[in-house]
């Protein structure tokens, strides 16, 4: 199968092309540059493979949680491409992509994904490596203060993502002071959005362009006036 994937949910901006299990990727740490970078990245991947959009089977995108604007850039781009090229879309959690990349590169079997959500909170999800080589979610994804993250069952968890860079002490305290290994420099990447997206597509769970929407997790963003 042929699938094109993007992720712009954090400071990282990446695009990936999966062809029969092989992944090519473009990746940059580029805060606020996503709008400038993302389509040229896709164009160069397709040109390198000699493919046109219309020859793909599906698209995948990191649907959040993450920076609101970044998540909407990915959503808008995928809406436009899916509508224009009439392609199905696999939405992939950016926390899942973060966990999948950690599993793929470090071999860690249990990953606690944490993306810095600002205002002293983290986007949080616990993932375990599954049979198909894909991570699967334990419990629910959530946004909360590091002092209140849901406690995972068992030991030997690996912490990944910018949430660990920002709140390692608070998270370690919350998780019982056990010596969690963590890497705060990891970001969700299109490489892993492509891997997980392929699975979603193969399970028949892809959606149409109009159903391509962001997942914010944080829904309290404005306060009504008391009059």
């Amino acid at each position: 199968m042929k699938l094109l994937a993007i992720d712009t949910s954090t400071e990282a901006c990446s695009a990936a092309l999966l062809i029969s299990g092989e992944v090519r990727e473009r990746h940059e740490i580029a805060p606020r540059e996503h709008a400038r970078l993302i389509l040229p990245m896709l164009e160069s991947l397709l040109a390198e493979a000699g493919l046109k959009l219309s020859q793909l089977d599906a698209l995948a995108f990191g649907c959040g949680p993450g920076g609101f604007t970044g998540v909407r850039i990915a959503t808008g781009v995928i809406q436009g491409l899916a509508f224009g090229a009439d392609l199905p879309v696999a939405p992939v959690s950016s926390l899942a992509a973060l966990a999948q990349g950690t599993y793929r590169e470090t071999g860690a079997q249990q990953i606690l994904s944490a993306i810095d959500a600002r205002i002293s909170e983290v986007y949080w999800g616990a993932y375990r490596a599954g049979d198909a080589g894909h991570v699967t979610l334990e419990g629910d994804e959530t946004v909360c203060a590091p002092q209140h993250v849901p406690l995972p069952v068992g030991a030997d968890w690996f912490g990944a993502g910018s949430g660990w860079a920002a709140y390692e002490t608070a998270l370690q305290t919350r998780l019982g002071g056990a010596a969690y290994t963590c890497d705060g420099q990891r970001y969700p990447r299109a490489y892993d959005v492509a891997l997980l997206g392929a699975g979603i597509y193969q399970r028949g769970l892809a959606v149409s362009a109009e159903q391509v929407l962001p997942v914010y997790l944080r829904d309290e963003v404005a306060w009504k006036k008391s009059r």
């Binding site: 040229p40 909407r72 959503t75 808008g76 224009g84 404005a222 006036k225």
Partner: protein
């Protein structure tokens, strides 16, 4: 040539299809006014969240209405500024990507150019050159228009836009948000002689505006005279008369200064009946003709973006794949296509 236009710069999602031979084929609009009313003003993050839900359903709708297939489309235009950064990025992301997927040019349109050219969508469009008064919640500008992309700012507001002054004064009078139209209705019952508000910046040469002082005048009048219904109506009347008078004085001056005979009036405030009556009168006295877009195109819409985009795509303009939003974008840096 058919061009899709996408507008997401503030609190309305608009999508339209314009055909260079047949004119406007279809347009659709989703207004977020009710969404923001509870907050007493536009909440940028909520605006962005709503745009990303609405653009594609509206696009599907206008393609069906216009009986248009992707192969019929020759370009995609989207508002790139000025406006709310996050809101603009939604339209830019969808519009730029859509154009790439369809293999057609994309054009980033200046929102105010859309408003300036909106009367071109009517059966009896003005010829160039003309003077345009753009009056909305975000802008008050007098512009000399010599052609597409040939704009000279003659004057603009140094503080609040006229529509903003309407909304803020309406809020003071307890008319909610956005209260401009409600203020205009209340003014109909007001005594024009009870209060007299200043006509800011009319006693000196030039075409700039300043409306923030009128709001202060309204506050003071309200404090001194109390807030009974008749007083509120009288204040509304005095406020509206002052804004209308000021806009009319500057429009007359702009016509005299440029020697032009056509006045285009666009933007949300151009729906105001008192303003239309007054501008009709001064234009008559100056031997000029006034042009308005139809009411639904006085406020933000996709049709004006599709029109402006079509003119630019036809002239060969095309954006690179890197897209952008330009929240602050002066009108007079634009160039002809």
């Amino acid at each position: 040539m058919r061009v899709v236009g996408i507008e997401t710069s503030c609190d309305e999602t608009g999508v339209a299809i314009y055909d260079s031979a047949r004119g406007l084929l279809a347009h659709a609009l989703h207004s977020q006014v009710a969404l923001h009313a509870e907050y007493g003003g536009v909440v940028p993050e909520l605006a962005s969240r709503d745009h990303v839900r609405k653009v594609l359903p509206l696009l599907r709708q206008v393609m069906n209405q216009a009986d248009t297939r992707p192969d019929d489309i020759g370009g995609v235009a989207y508002t790139a500024g000025p406006g709310l950064a996050g809101a603009l990025l939604v339209g830019a992301a969808v519009g730029r990507s859509l154009a790439w997927a369809w293999g057609v040019p994309a054009v980033a349109v200046h929102h105010m150019e859309g408003h300036l050219l909106a009367p071109m969508l009517e059966d009896d469009p003005p010829a160039f050159p003309f003077v345009a008064l753009l009056v909305s919640g975000g802008h008050t500008q007098l512009v000399r228009v010599d052609g597409v992309g040939r704009y000279t700012i003659l004057g603009e507001s140094l503080d609040d836009a006229a529509g903003e002054a309407f909304d803020k004064t309406a809020k003071l009078l307890g008319l909610g948000y956005p209260g401009g139209p409600a203020l205009a209705r209340l003014a109909q019952r007001g005594d024009p002689k009870r209060f007299h508000f200043p006509r800011p910046m009319t006693n000196r040469p030039g075409l700039d505006f300043s409306f923030s002082g009128l709001k202060t005048f309204a506050v003071n009048s309200l404090q001194m005279q109390g807030g009974d219904d008749q007083t509120r109506a009288d204040i509304a009347r005095a406020f509206q008369d002052a804004v209308v008078d000021t806009l009319a004085i500057k429009c007359r001056r702009a016509l005299q200064q440029t020697g032009l005979e056509r006045l285009v009036v666009s933007g949300g405030v151009s729906a105001n009946t008192a303003l239309r009556e007054r501008l009709g009168r001064i234009a008559g006295e100056e031997g000029a003709q006034v042009f308005y877009p139809r009411l639904e195109f006085c406020t933000d819409n996709g049709a004006m973006i599709a029109y402006a985009g079509c003119r630019r795509v036809q002239a060969g303009q095309a954006e690179p794949l890197a897209f952008f939003a330009t929240p602050r974008w002066p009108l007079d840096v634009l160039a002809p296509p």
